[in-house]
Amino acid sequence: MTLYILCFILLLTGLYGLLISRNIIKIVISLTIVEISIFLMLILIGYIGGALAPVIFQEEVLPHQAVVDPLPQTMVLTAIVIALATNSMILTMAIRLYKKYGTFDIHEISKLKG
């Protein structure tokens, strides 16, 4: 249970960073922290202490032997690929923003008002 709570604290840390930081790069980092916390939680959900990796070997697996749930792992793999796209794209935007405005401060980048 402690691990899940720590995960949730990590998520809240990311959210806090997202709310208070003024630097674009720090916003991106905070978003990544939220991402990572959710990936960790997904992995934890499928994890069973002392269980085998979900790979089928030639040898017979004993019937009482527990195997880690492979589904969350595949989900996390997919989500990581998506996160890669997200991060590369959002960083491209950050670079473009820096070139246009000459600053990373979101208070100075405010031609549009919500």
Binding site: I24, L42, M89, R96, G114
Partner: protein, 510 residues
């Protein structure tokens, strides 16, 4: 047993998306032809499966059939609601596509525009067809990525800024959804929506608190995507900065599919509707409806005005859904529920048409006059009579003036609110209707009437843009026919019936 036509809604746009840049290497006109043909075929397919619904609603790609009635593979589900959404998506996409052909000539790299357009379309079709939670998430991300890039397509200062804002908010929204999905998987050990619904129903009493916690995460994610009022900051920027055909897609389709459709699917078909949640959704809807229209009255940028109205009109739909869920949870009469859901879905398809059209006319005005500031326009009625007629029809439709479609759907929602005993919400609906009319009178007055500015040079609106706008203006009128039971039985009733089944939907799927 299976319905393989469903896979084409995802496969064809993906194929077109990656074919276009390749084709462009040696054939210049190829991209336009592919754009036209593929979007036309998709619209026809959607129309065919709505008018002539196939026997089976499922398709399982790869042949991973259920084992002992436990679904293991990816399920594409094309039930009444999904087919209805497919019709909205693909018809609006077709009209936006033919509008975009002349419009994107002002940009460089048109092939990338078409590629992103099809990626967005594939994602949208995937979201409504996804039968499991994780595919829903993946296709939401596909749509969102394409939308971010399309918003920033002009690479001017404001566009990049809007796209960055949209990306941060949108990224957070999908992460909240992923968190919700993780919680659901934890509780139920399955990802299939129908299966989740069955498992949740069987051990309902055990973990009510956890379910509420999960629901709040889903609601936060979806509310950001639907731009409900406390979460709306990205929408006016993103929708007003994007190229006009993309604005029409974003406002007309994307917020509906990623926002409203996911709310409907999750909170009505997967979770059983509860009193608490119906209250939250109706309040979110009511607040967005009122605040959106008040913000719109003060806006001077034409596209920003329209974007605020998107928030307001989505508020109507959401309030209708909230009322319907409240009546279901309170054990009210099924006819009231049917009326609210009919009203909400009807308003959704109406909004797709008239808001799409309004953004297209805004694009046409921008194309001709190079400005979107209402104070710099005036007297355009003389120069652009066709745009004026189209935008007049759409304005009357969104304001709810009788022969146009918007009147009937708003009327249905308000009558349903009175029947359900929510008099305050009905009064709010009427008030917002009047304010909407006021702000569109302002738009018409400043843009088309009055004296023309001296020394303006106007470009001619290209033919394809006119065709698209006229088609939508005609649709605004003929969609009023949906109030007749015979027409409604074809288009709206299958979708409403899917919602009326609530969680019994799951039993049909498995």
């Amino acid at each position: 047993m299976e319905n393989p036509v469903l896979i084409f809604f995802i496969f064809l746009p993906f194929l077109a998306a990656f074919l276009i840049p390749l084709l462009n290497l040696f054939w210049d006109q190829g991209k336009t032809i592919v754009l036209f043909l593929v979007s036309f075929v998709l619209m026809l397919l959607a129309l065919i499966i709505v008018i002539n619904p196939p026997q089976s609603t499922q398709y399982i790609p790869g042949g991973w059939y259920p084992v002992d009635n436990i679904p293991v593979g990816i399920h594409l589900v094309g039930d009444g609601l999904s087919r209805f959404m497919l019709l909205i998506i693909n018809s609006i996409a077709f009209l936006c596509a033919i509008y975009a052909i002349p419009y994107v000539k002002m940009f460089t790299g048109q092939k990338y525009f078409y590629t992103l357009f099809f990626l967005q379309l594939a994602g949208l079709n995937g979201v409504v067809l996804a039968g499991d939670m994780f595919n829903l998430f993946v296709f939401m991300e596909v749509t969102a990525k394409a939308s971010y890039a399309l918003v920033a397509f002009g690479v001017r200062k404001t566009e990049i800024e809007a796209a960055f804002k949209y990306q941060v908010m949108g990224g957070l929204a999908t992460l909240f959804m992923l968190f919700g999905i993780a919680m659901l998987y934890w509780m139920t050990s399955t990802l299939n929506m129908a299966d989740i619904s069955v498992v949740l129903r069987n051990n309902h009493a055990e973990n009510t608190n956890v379910i509420h916690f999960t629901q709040l995460f889903f609601l936060a994610g979806v509310a950001i995507k639907a731009a409900m009022i406390p979460f709306h900051a990205w929408l006016p920027d993103a929708h007003s900065s994007a190229p006009s055909p993309v604005s029409a897609m974003l406002s007309g389709v994307v917020i509906k599919v990623l926002g409203i459709y996911v709310i409907l699917r999750l909170f009505i078909n997967v979770f059983a509707p509860s009193e608490f949640l119906s209250m939250v959704i109706a309040v979110l809807g009511g607040v967005s409806m009122t605040a959106g229209v008040i913000l719109a009255i003060g806006a001077w940028d034409l596209k920003r005005l329209l974007a605020y109205h998107s928030i307001s009109q989505m508020g109507y739909v959401l309030m209708g859904i909230g009322i319907g869920m409240g009546v279901i949870a309170g054990g009210g009469s099924p006819t009231t529920v049917a009326l609210t859901f009919t009203g909400a879905l009807f308003h959704m398809i109406n909004h797709a048409v008239f808001k799409g059209l309004l953004f297209l006319t805004a694009g046409s005005i921008e194309y001709s006059t190079d400005t979107l500031d209402l104070r710099k326009m005036g007297g355009l009625a003389r120069y652009m009579p066709l745009t004026m007629v189209a935008s007049f029809a759409a304005s009357m439709a969104i304001a709810g003036i009788p022969p146009f479609n918007g009147f009937f759907s708003k009327f249905a929602i308000i009558v349903a609110a009175i029947q359900g005993g929510y008099h305050f919400r009905a009064a709010l609906g009427l008030l917002v209707g009047i304010l909407t009319l006021a702000s569109f009178v302002k738009f018409q007055r400043y843009a088309f009437f009055g004296t023309p500015r001296p020394g303006v040079t106007l470009k001619h609106t290209p033919l394809l843009m006119k065709v698209s706008m006229v088609t939508m203006a005609v649709l605004c009128l003929i969609m009023s026919l949906f109030i007749f039971p015979e027409v409604r039985a074809v288009f709206l009733d299958p979708a409403v019936n899917t919602l009326l089944e609530t969680t019994d939907y799951a039993l049909k799927q498995i």
